[in-house]
């Protein structure tokens, strides 16, 4: 331990002047040596700091002068700018907004007579508990909540009491004036005002930071009519759930999207998993016979069939250990429209096999069925399809088994089928689709042939229970067995659906209704297939929304020969 010896250690600050080298001690030389090392190091340090400050001044110049963006003074009061933006429907009706909410608290420092104050307060709020309130007021605490969510009248009454100890604190609360009506589209926000799901999440930045309003393509009236009707049919058939989507086929704007059960976003209760789930955009299902419309379109597109052709459905056929047979077996040659009218599995399988596996895969890809949709909602479905696509898959997929996709997928595909053959991903924003690419999937002539066939299904086929006079509804039914969580089919429990478009002379709107596990009853002659529940539900919805959407009743389509022929055969078979 040499370093504290008095004769060696120079307390710093008491240095010998270094004017002459002769006066250095050996220890001083070391110090000097180190400071001379320090010379270039000091220069380096100076350079580094100067560089940093130069960058800072440049950045300041860039931000303040080059990127100058003066704030315009608006008449809005400052507090208002802190609000989250509103969400509006296509007509400007408010679907979600922030409201200032007033809470009442007591400041114990200014309480003069706790007894009187409590009594007076209870006159305004009879539901408050005297003992508890008295205790809160009497405690000297500077901040104790007495009552939350005061109405303006109540606030006025409390102010009128004139007690200096009673104060208010204000905060913003997200309010959904339509309650559960748009729960799945809008989503929820958390206590920090961040979107958790739906549009609230997707546009969190615009709403929260830029305080922008978001205008959706949905229509509050259409949504309400759809939800009301769907709810009625779910109750009527004791279904466990259901969904319905209405879409404009030309703009692909979603006008209504209902998924039941739903939840009320205004209550503080956390919705159940089932209620929170958006079946229409996030759920993937096997749709059954609905897919036959797309199979016929595939046949037309590839040129393998024309509407006049006949398909051999005389007997079931066997493929890779499966029997493909018909539910309403006709056991004869079927004209192409009849494949849809009688919903023939054999017919649609044969059409798909004629078109070929590769073409089917390509067509379904073009329709967007195999990829997540390009939509605004964060709740996007991931379709499921076979990794190895064999001929047997081609056959079963042609009538809706072996491939699962979401109802919104089906709706955008259907829109493309009936709007003249142009596909575009759907949107939830008003005019939100203008920049999305359009692609042709079918010629206008083929699209028109589909119109006639879908119209015939609604007129004389499985969709006839939705045949609201004058609106020229065209549709296709589908009933698929539901699967349990392990993917096994549950015998007897069906997911019944109906897709439709109207008016069929020039379709404007498409609609889908799906019911989960509707029950049989005497009224439905102990049937539970689509035609007895989803179809009349869709009919009732169209009956309500068509006049609102400005669709006027039209005279019946003129039937081309291939449709006429199907009507004639049907008439003959009746006798």
């Amino acid at each position: 331990m040499t370093w504290f010896k008095k004769d060696v250690f120079y307390p710093v600050g008491q240095e010998i002047p270094f004017n002459s080298k002769n006066r250095y001690t050996s220890l001083d030389k070391k110090t000097i040596a180190s400071t001379s090392v320090g010379q270039w190091r000091l220069s380096f340090l100076i350079f580094a700091f100067s560089l940093a400050f130069f960058i800072l001044i440049s950045r300041l110049f860039y931000l303040t002068v080059i990127k100058k963006k003066p704030i315009l003074i608006t008449k809005e009061p400052p507090a208002f700018m802190m609000q989250r933006g509103n969400i509006l429907d296509r007509n400007g009706v408010i679907l979600a907004t922030d409201l200032p909410i007033v809470d009442l608290f007591v400041d114990g420092k200014f309480v003069s007579n706790a007894q009187t104050e409590t009594q007076k307060l209870l006159e305004i709020f009879p539901d408050l508990d005297f003992e508890k309130t008295y205790k809160k007021i009497k405690s000297k605490s500077r901040f104790t909540y007495l009552k939350r969510n005061l109405t303006p009248t109540e606030q006025y009454a409390v102010n009128h009491l004139g007690f200096p100890s009673l104060n208010f604190s204000t905060r913003e609360k997200r309010i959904y004036p339509q309650n559960e009506l748009f729960s799945h589209i809008l989503g929820l926000t958390d206590v920090d005002n961040n979107g958790l799901s739906g549009i609230e999440k997707a546009f969190n930045r615009d709403l929260k930071i830029h305080h922008k309003n978001v205008q959706l393509s949905v229509d509050v009236n259409v949504q309400d009519m759809v939800r009301e009707t769907l709810l009625k049919y779910i109750e009527k058939f004791e279904a466990t759930g259901g969904l319905s989507v209405v879409m404009n086929v030309d703009t692909q704007e979603v006008l209504a999207l209902v998924s039941l059960p739903d939840y009320n976003p205004n209550t503080f209760e956390i919705p159940s998993k089932d209620a929170f789930f958006n079946k229409a955009s996030l759920g993937v299902y096997e749709f059954g016979s609905i897919m036959k419309v797309f199979s016929v379109a595939l046949g037309l597109k590839t040129g393998k069939i024309t509407p006049d052709d006949e398909i051999d459905a005389t007997k079931p056929f066997k493929m890779a250990h499966y029997y493909i047979s018909d539910y309403h077996a006709k056991n004869r040659m079927l004209k192409v429209p009849e494949v849809l009218i009688y919903s023939s599995n054999i017919g649609s399988s044969k059409i798909a096999l004629m078109a070929g596996t590769e073409n089917q895969k390509e067509f379904l890809t073009d329709l967007g069925f195999l990829e997540p949709l390009d939509i605004e909602l964060p709740e996007k479905a991931h379709p499921m399809y076979p990794k190895v696509w064999r001929d047997i898959n081609t056959a079963t997929i042609s009538y809706g088994y072996g491939m699962s996709t979401s109802p919104l997928h089906i709706m955008s595909g259907l829109s493309a089928l009936v709007n003249g053959g142009l596909y575009r991903a759907p949107t939830f924003l008003l005019g939100g689709n203008k920049n999305k690419p359009l692609r042709r999937i079918l010629s206008p002539k083929m699209s028109e042939e589909i119109h006639y066939m879908m119209r015939a299904v609604s007129d004389i086929g499985s969709g006839k229970n939705a045949n609201v006079k004058g609106y020229l509804i065209g549709g296709k039914t589908g009933s698929a067995e539901m699967q349990d969580e392990r993917g096994r089919y549950i015998s007897g429990s069906l997911r019944t659906s109906f897709i439709a478009a109207f008016p069929m002379n020039s379709p404007k709107y498409a609609l889908m209704v799906m019911l989960e596990n509707p029950k049989k009853s005497a009224e439905t002659f102990w049937y539970n297939t689509s035609g007895w529940n989803a179809v009349p539900c869709a009919g009732e919805i169209i009956q309500k929304i068509a006049p609102y959407l400005g669709v006027s009743p039209q005279s019946e389509l003129e039937k081309p020969p291939y449709i006429e022929a199907a009507y004639v055969i049907k008439e003959k078979e009746k006798h």
């Binding site: 240095e15 001044i57 110049f61 303040t64 802190m82």
Partner: protein
């Protein structure tokens, strides 16, 4: 008797006046004055937002202003030896207080950095910075004089002890500042480039470790890298505040964007300053910072006392690094890091601490001391 006292006092003041480095003195005073002015401008909107009276922060800042100026000028009268003695004792006191924050410190915005002292929140780490600088400089200088003295090891151990506490507070920005001070002192005391690179690598390793183990660091860095994903409310507001400025700004008190800027009086005070005083004046503030650092380090070139060099370089590093981190994070050049702008930001601990540090610097740069001793 009284006459003698008067003349000796007069002599002390006259000597002080002719030996003090006036560039440093007036730069520091002008920054402090600007800071007080900015507190008037920036803090009322923040005070209103947290429901205290409008002049709450201004009163507190003025309360600290005169003690701070007293400390700065008083310290500049002291000799290096006295400074060293005071610093060693104060270092021990504040080191104990720093440990104390972990156990009973009050929590503000999720960190335990403050202890309560006479009704004021006191941040020991702020005071420890200049004290640490002096103590380490002393150790390293002694290490040069006495070969057997393990200077680097002792100063590293001190640093690691402080670092562990800061990591647990957590106060990562402060940790970086301490690291920078010691790094510069090592660098100037002649550590080999190889060893310096190793230390640099260790620093980078610690930063990566912080990213993966400290949640708020992870969050802020991610927010910086992907501004589209995270919540960038504060940064957006800060940039909007800068962009409202132009050459001349909106004028004092006329800023609009500052109203929505959280921490407008502390971490983001530069944004407020820019909005109201424009590029020219705000650029001048940055220039004055640069001037203090440049001038201080240049004076060191003429200095041949290693202790003096290490102390002043350490203090300049502290002021410089803190200023650079604060300004870059408010201008969105680095992830947001809560750190005050020396001299200017609101905050009693910060002001008193930087005043003390500046006092030390002023004292050490008085030329006569290093030549004639005491």
């Amino acid at each position: 008797m009284f006459r003698e006292f008067y003349f000796s006092l007069k002599k002390a003041f006259v000597t002080w006046w002719w030996t003090i480095d006036r560039t440093l003195l007036f730069s520091a005073l002008s920054l402090v004055a600007f800071g007080v002015f900015m507190t008037f401008s920036a803090s009322p909107s923040v005070a209103d937002r947290i429901h205290v009276e409008s002049y709450h922060f201004i009163k507190r800042q003025l309360f600290f202003l005169f003690p701070a100026l007293g400390i700065m000028l008083g310290t500049s009268f002291l000799s290096p030896k006295t400074i060293r003695r005071i610093s060693v004792i104060a270092f021990c006191v504040f080191f104990v207080l720093l440990i104390f924050t972990l156990f009973s410190g009050s929590e503000i915005k999720g960190a335990h950095r403050w202890v309560s002292f006479l009704g004021f929140g006191l941040q020991p780490s702020e005071f420890l910075k200049p004290l640490f600088t002096v103590v380490c400089a002393w150790i390293l200088a002694t290490g040069k004089l006495v070969k057997s003295f393990p200077a680097k090891i002792i100063s590293s151990v001190l640093f690691i002890l402080i670092a562990v506490i800061l990591w647990n507070q957590p106060d990562f920005g402060m940790l970086v500042t301490f690291g920078a001070i010691l790094g510069v002192q090592f660098f100037l005391s002649g550590i080999s480039i190889k060893a310096l690179s190793l230390l640099g690598l260790a620093g980078i390793g610690a930063a990566i470790g912080a990213y993966f183990s400290l949640e708020h660091i992870h969050y802020r860095v991610n927010n910086f890298l992907n501004p589209q994903v995270g919540d960038s409310y504060q940064v957006d507001k800060a940039l909007a505040t800068f962009q409202n400025a132009g050459w001349f700004g909106t004028g004092p008190g006329e800023g609009l964007a500052k109203v929505y800027l959280p921490d407008a009086h502390t971490d983001f005070i530069l944004a407020t300053a820019a909005e109201e005083f424009g590029f020219l004046l705000c650029g001048l503030v940055i220039f004055v910072f640069a001037l203090i650092i440049y001038h201080g380090l240049s004076l060191n070139k003429k200095e041949n006392n290693l202790f003096s060099i290490l102390v002043s370089a350490g203090i300049l590093t502290q002021i410089g690094v803190q200023g650079i981190i604060n300004m870059s994070s408010s201008m969105h050049l680095i992830p947001t890091k809560g750190m005050t702008l020396p001299f200017i930001s609101y905050g009693g601990s910060s002001l008193v601490s930087v005043a003390f540090a500046m006092g030390i610097l002023l004292s050490l740069t008085r030329p006569h001391l290093s030549q004639t001793g005491e």
